[in-house]
């Protein structure tokens, strides 16, 4: 019973704050709503007996990524950007289209996943040691590829900041 109440509470928090992310006109506030949404998802992970993933969710997304988001947003003159944020009919059409396509993709993926087998895989990886073993044996290629992808990002950023031209031409 308590689990069901907790689930609906966390699900409501996650969804409502996610709506807040989209509906808010102040980008800083939407970023903060996103943090709450991440925390809701982390709570759901805890409820699913996956504390490791929940903790990593908090640490990586809420604790590091979003802090940087908020940090950058504080440096921007938000009042100027708010005007560009709210759009007309055409942009609303595109917004609706994107939401529809994304929702369709998501539901099709959820419906196509064979849950009964995937749950068995997930149940093998509750303890940290098991997750590490899976990551470094069965899923080592995907793991390393993700690492390379993350490496590409800083290299790209460094390359971009070093580009000559524009106002920063040396």
């Amino acid at each position: 019973m308590a689990e069901i109440i907790l689930f609906y509470f966390l699900a409501a928090v996650t969804v409502l704050t996610a709506v807040g992310v989209v509906m808010n006109e102040n980008p800083l506030m939407s970023a903060l709503y996103l943090v709450l949404s991440m925390l809701g998802i982390a709570g759901l992970f805890f409820l699913l007996q996956a504390p490791f993933i929940g903790a990593v969710q908090i640490m990586v997304y809420a604790g590091a990524v979003m802090v940087l988001f908020v940090l950058v947003m504080m440096l921007i003159d938000i009042n100027k950007d708010e005007e560009k944020f709210s759009g007309g009919n055409i942009s609303a059409l595109f917004k609706g289209l994107t939401v529809g396509v994304f929702a369709g993709l998501l539901t099709s993926i959820i419906l196509r996943t064979p849950m009964s087998t995937k749950i068995l895989v997930a149940q093998q990886a509750t303890e940290v040691v098991d997750i590490a073993r899976l990551l470094f044996t069965k899923y080592v290629l995907a793991f390393e590829l993700l690492g390379i992808m993350l490496l590409v990002i800083p290299v790209g950023i460094v390359a971009l900041t070093r580009i000559r031209g524009g106002t920063h031409e040396r």
């Binding site: 903060l32 504390p51 908090i58 640490m59 604790g63 802090v67 908020v70 504080m74």
Partner: protein, 386 residues
Amino acid sequence: MGSDVFEITVNVVKMLLIFLLMVQLVPILVWVERRGSAFIQNRFGPNRVGPLGLTQLLADAVKFLFKEEFVPPSSHALLYYAAPVLALVPGAIAFGGIPLSMPIEIQPFDMFGSHWGPYTFKFQSYDLNIGILFILAISSLGAYALLLAGWGSNNKYSLFGALRASAQMVSYELAMGLSLVGLLMLYQTLNFSQMIELQKGPLHFYFFGRELVVPFLPNWGIFYQPLGFLLFATAAFAETNRLPFDLPEAEGELVAGYHTEYGGLKMLMFYIGEYGHMMVASAVMTTFYFGGYELPFHLSDSLTTAVRGAFTSYNMGNVMAAMALFLVFLLKVLFFLWVFIWVRWTLPRFRYDQLMDLGWKTMLPWALANVLITAFLILVGGGGVL
């Protein structure tokens, strides 16, 4: 939470008490900070109100409570009010996850005309198997308090303080996490209670298949990872925004940094948050590197048997034995809190570029090297360390 009324009640009361312990330590620490700074700087400090100035705390609390409620008119009201609360919450949650003493076993007993079965109460608010990871995750949320305070109060100095604070916290989180990895590899667990269990007895470990015993040293983490401890302690200072890393509130340049616009109870909550983070850092240091609530060698076993012997009731003896170990833990934590205060009034502040240099170019490589060397030694010298 528990299976029956008694267990649930005890657990709820326990959580409340642990939270109150954290909050109630703050005024004492403020007093220690003021008297200690005075001692270090050859002054008197607050010594007028009550014996040794101890009731100054009460006067301060009353002052904080009755100050005028003031919100800067151009501030973002929601964020302005949310920030102090957010400063308090992560520290309070994180502190609950650290075992403050050994679990208390209670044998079946009769009370209020009914029978109550055997219980085991853990001396912590919650026990997660991933202990340290969760605490690091929750503490990392503390950056939001400073960010929101800086942005919400709509003040240049506050914003600069917030920017510095969050950049600093994000940078040092990395070194902090990495400095713990070496020890985690040795312990092979993330759970605090298991770590404390491993640190019992004299220093003994396996190296190339031979068991080495150093009888005059306790089996504490610091003797395995001295560099890791140094890095962790430094990062902890930066994470709690204490001097020498208190650039977010550098009063010479930023008035008071992110809490320039705060006063009264809201200011006090920032204080509680800062001291809460200090307590969490000290408790983690104690648990990781200094044997947690255990006394060195097997002294804690003799202590608990002595305390148990003093009570006729088995349950009462168990409770009191846990209390004795809790005192041991508290003493260790208080020592580290004193180190925090001691350092604050001894070292001058870093410059901002020096701070970033230390974090990214010095501590991060050293922490990485520490991890690599530890991993190599475990691999070559055999995994049977501890």
